[in-house]
């Protein structure tokens, strides 16, 4: 079922959190909502599931306007950021609750709970109370409770934040498989960009109540619309260099680095610019040479990470296949791949 936010605004008293947001999530699509803490991700989810009424704008499920429909009538499954488990119920009762209030027969509930609990690997904990569970176990109970009644829309507010790396990988693919199988439309809020990129069809990046860009993970990575988006995606993150425009080229503050870029034709000389270089585009293969000193070196197994400080003090990160000829303190001369560099105006928009 398609979800459409149409000029959706939400304010609490005088503090406006979200203004005129437009967002469409296609039927059966899984969208990641990515953004810094406090940008309004949870608020958006709360409005979609009906806990908060929008201050203005409409929310549509399919073609049905649900803006003023109570939560109970929306058939939305939610995994809350704080789990929101019922402390007085056992795990079994917690998971079965959406069915209990629907007056499903007790034996049916038991069967379905057992099935979904096995799926999230908590079938051995059914008799415990939430206070007797670890954070990750509680999270899985919350997930099971959201999934059990096959919702039309699934909203996940950082559902995997408390799991260990292995379990997280496993749950990622489980959730994705379930979502695809059942054709649920899902929105996943996360701080983990790898999670967003690996699980979701598209990513929406939010910044202080606004959606900055919505795109597929690879588009988002290769074609960021702003410096914020470019900085948000990628690990290790992109490096930024300050400079100016001069004759269709980017010139660093101390003038030592010059790079001609097609995007800069027609830009007035002296315009303040920011150059963005992803770590994989700085290394031995680049075409624009840069000299600097290695101030940080770390191996990640398959790859090595380096921080190179340029004479003017700015830092460029580099990621390269493992090599052991470069050590901390070495003077290096590596190159930037100018075709893959992004250049941004002073306000952050990409040129």
């Amino acid at each position: 079922m398609r979800i459409l936010l149409d000029k959706f605004s939400k304010s609490f008293g005088t503090t406006s959190v979200i203004e005129d947001m437009n967002l469409e999530v296609g039927s059966g699509e899984m969208l990641a909502l990515l953004g810094p803490s406090g940008c309004g991700k949870s608020t958006t989810l709360f409005a979609i599931c009906g806990i908060h009424r929008p201050t203005a704008g409409r929310i549509l499920f399919g073609d049905r306007d649900v803006t003023n429909l109570p939560s109970q009538e929306r058939n939305v499954g939610v995994v809350f950021q704080s789990y929101a488990l019922y402390p007085h119920m056992t795990v079994e009762e917690n998971i079965g609750f959406p069915l209990t209030v629907r007056r499903v027969a007790a034996s049916d509930i038991k069967k379905q709970v057992a099935g979904i609990a096995a799926l999230v690997h908590i079938d051995n904990l059914l008799d415990r109370k939430p206070s007797q569970l670890s954070g990750g176990q509680q999270q899985r109970v919350a997930l099971a409770r959201a999934l059990i009644r096959r919702p039309d829309v699934l909203l996940l507010d950082e559902p995997l934040a408390n799991l260990d790396a292995k379990l997280r990988l496993e749950m990622r693919s489980e959730i994705r498989r379930l979502q695809k199988e059942t054709g649920i439309t899902a929105i996943l809020v996360t701080h983990d960009q790898v999670e967003a990129m690996s699980m979701c069809d598209r990513i929406a990046i939010m910044k202080s109540g606004e959606i900055v860009q919505v795109a597929t993970p690879s588009q988002m990575y290769q074609d960021p619309r702003t410096a914020f988006v470019a900085g948000f995606l990628g690990n290790p993150p992109i490096s930024f260099l300050k400079g100016k425009a001069a004759h269709g080229a980017f010139v660093s503050t101390d003038g030592k680095l010059q790079m001609t870029l097609p995007a800069l034709s027609g830009i007035a000389d002296g315009t303040a610019l920011t150059l963005g270089i992803r770590p994989e585009h700085f290394g031995t293969a680049g075409n624009v040479p840069v000299e600097g000193k290695v101030t940080f070196a770390e191996t990640q197994g398959r790859e090595n990470l380096y921080d190179v400080v340029l004479p003017d003090g700015s830092v460029i990160r580099s990621i390269q296949p493992v090599r052991d000829d470069v050590t901390l303190g070495d003077q290096v001369r590596w190159g930037i791949d100018s075709k893959s560099a992004f250049v941004f105006a002073e306000d952050g928009t990409r040129l």
């Binding site: 806990i51 939560s71 609750f97 209030v101 206070s131 409770r145």
Partner: protein
């Protein structure tokens, strides 16, 4: 180590003294009083020995002869009486002749004594005969003896020869002070009045508690929970009014409403219903109003406790349950009520105890009437020990009734703890997987 322990004792001493004086002493004193027959008649200090009419009555069953004899006046011509007679300065011949002829004479009745006095040579006139016989009246009836020995000596002089056992019986029967006894409890156990009062108390406590202090309070707390917070505050304040109004004034309002020229009567008069005192016209109505008055005062506490307990439930649980599809009613049933078990237990316990112990509302409204139909245990204890029409205040019996109340309260609390399965209310420590 030693000094810190001493210091600890010193620090805790004021608290210990307070606990002893204001918490334990009242119960201990109540228990002590309960084991006596103290009353207005006995006083609370020591007593004296006095052959009262009721003492004679008590003796009639065990020592009928003595009882009859003791009740009769006795006349003894003795030296004390003769000296007194001389001091009266009547004709000196009276004393002289009596001393000579009749010294030591014991007359079982006034008639016999006066026969001898009349026969004196100096011929006393009727008034003098009476005067003289009064002097020799040695009856013990209504005479106060400061000690047991004085009573026994006196009886001995009058010719009652008693064995030590009989002396003990007489002493017990005539002692006017209080004595140790467990009779209070057998009185309570055997009296049909007490049974009725016990039943009254049970009904009063159970109905007020379940209908008002818990159910109505829950209803108020839950409804205010679903109101906007400002409206809720206003309603809570209104529902607190009965609690914060001085109880005398609050009950006066109810009286104005229920008197025969009060609001209800005036209103119903419009429809031709004759006025009457609705508060006291029947036991049923009296109970109705007594429970209503106590209920409205008592519900406010439950409301406050339950409201704050509901407030303590994290908002997200309500959000989650809405999303899970729970209606309001289901939210109340599955989310709110189960998490109010501990507050409900607390309110039930606390209100049971305060309903058992408090009687001022009943005392001020119906005074236990009509008749004794709204008399409850604590009010009955109050009436018995401190305030009744006959004027004989039975402190001992009253204290015994109060002690019964304490025991009943304790037992009920223990039962509640079991019924609410107190152990399950305490969360278990985290068990690692």
């Amino acid at each position: 180590m030693r000094t810190s322990r001493t210091l600890g004792m010193v620090m805790i001493a004021p608290a210990a003294i307070m606990i002893f004086l204001f918490y334990l002493m009242p119960v201990v004193l109540t228990a002590i009083f309960a084991m006596t027959n103290m009353s207005t008649a006995t006083g609370i200090s020591g007593g004296a020995w006095q052959v009262t009419a009721s003492a004679v009555n008590r003796l009639k069953t065990t020592l009928p002869e003595l009882a009859n004899g003791i009740a009769e006046p006795r006349f003894v011509i003795d030296e004390d009486g003769l000296k007194e007679l001389e001091a009266l300065k009547l004709k000196p011949g009276f004393a002289t002749e009596l001393r000579a002829q009749h010294i030591g004479g014991v007359y079982p009745s006034r008639r016999e004594a006066e026969r001898d006095i009349k026969a004196l040579k100096d011929r006393p006139n009727t008034r003098e005969v009476k005067q003289i016989s009064d002097i020799f009246n040695r009856s013990v009836l209504n005479t106060r003896f400061e000690s047991r020995d004085a009573l026994m000596t006196s009886l001995d002089k009058l010719g009652f020869k008693l064995t030590p056992e009989q002396q003990q019986i007489v002493s017990d029967a005539t002692y006017t002070g209080w004595v140790w006894t467990s009779e209070n409890f057998s009185t309570i156990a055997n009296s049909p009045d007490m049974l009725q009062i016990l039943i009254n108390t049970g009904i009063y406590v159970a109905v007020t508690l379940t209908l008002f202090n818990v159910t109505y309070a829950l209803f108020l707390a839950v409804t205010t929970h679903y109101m906007p917070s400002n409206t809720a505050s206003v309603f809570r304040a209104i529902w607190l009014l009965p609690r914060i109004t001085p109880v005398v004034i609050y009950i006066l309002l109810w009286k104005w409403m229920t008197w025969d020229n009060g609001f209800i009567s005036l209103f119903l008069a419009q429809f031709g219903v004759p006025p009457k005192n609705y508060l006291l016209d029947s036991a049923y109505n009296a109970w109705f109003f007594v429970i209503l008055i106590n209920g409205f005062i008592g519900a406010s506490m439950g409301m406050l406790v339950f409201s704050s307990a509901i407030k303590a439930i994290p908002q997200t649980q309500f959000h989650a349950s809405e999303v899970d599809g729970a209606s309001r009613w289901q939210q109340i049933r599955y989310i709110i009520l189960p998490q109010l078990r501990w507050p409900i237990l607390f309110v039930t316990c606390y209100q049971t105890l305060s309903l058992l112990a408090s009687f001022q509302e009943i005392h001020l409204s119906t005074r236990g009437g009509p008749g004794k139909s709204t008399e409850v245990w604590s009010l009955a204890a109050f009436h018995t020990a401190l305030n009744n029409y006959t004027g004989n205040l039975e402190y001992g019996l009253g204290a015994a009734m109060a002690l019964v109340l304490v025991v009943v309260g304790l037992v009920l609390s223990l039962i509640y703890l079991r019924v609410f399965r107190y152990d399950t209310l305490i969360s278990k420590p985290l068990i690692e997987d």
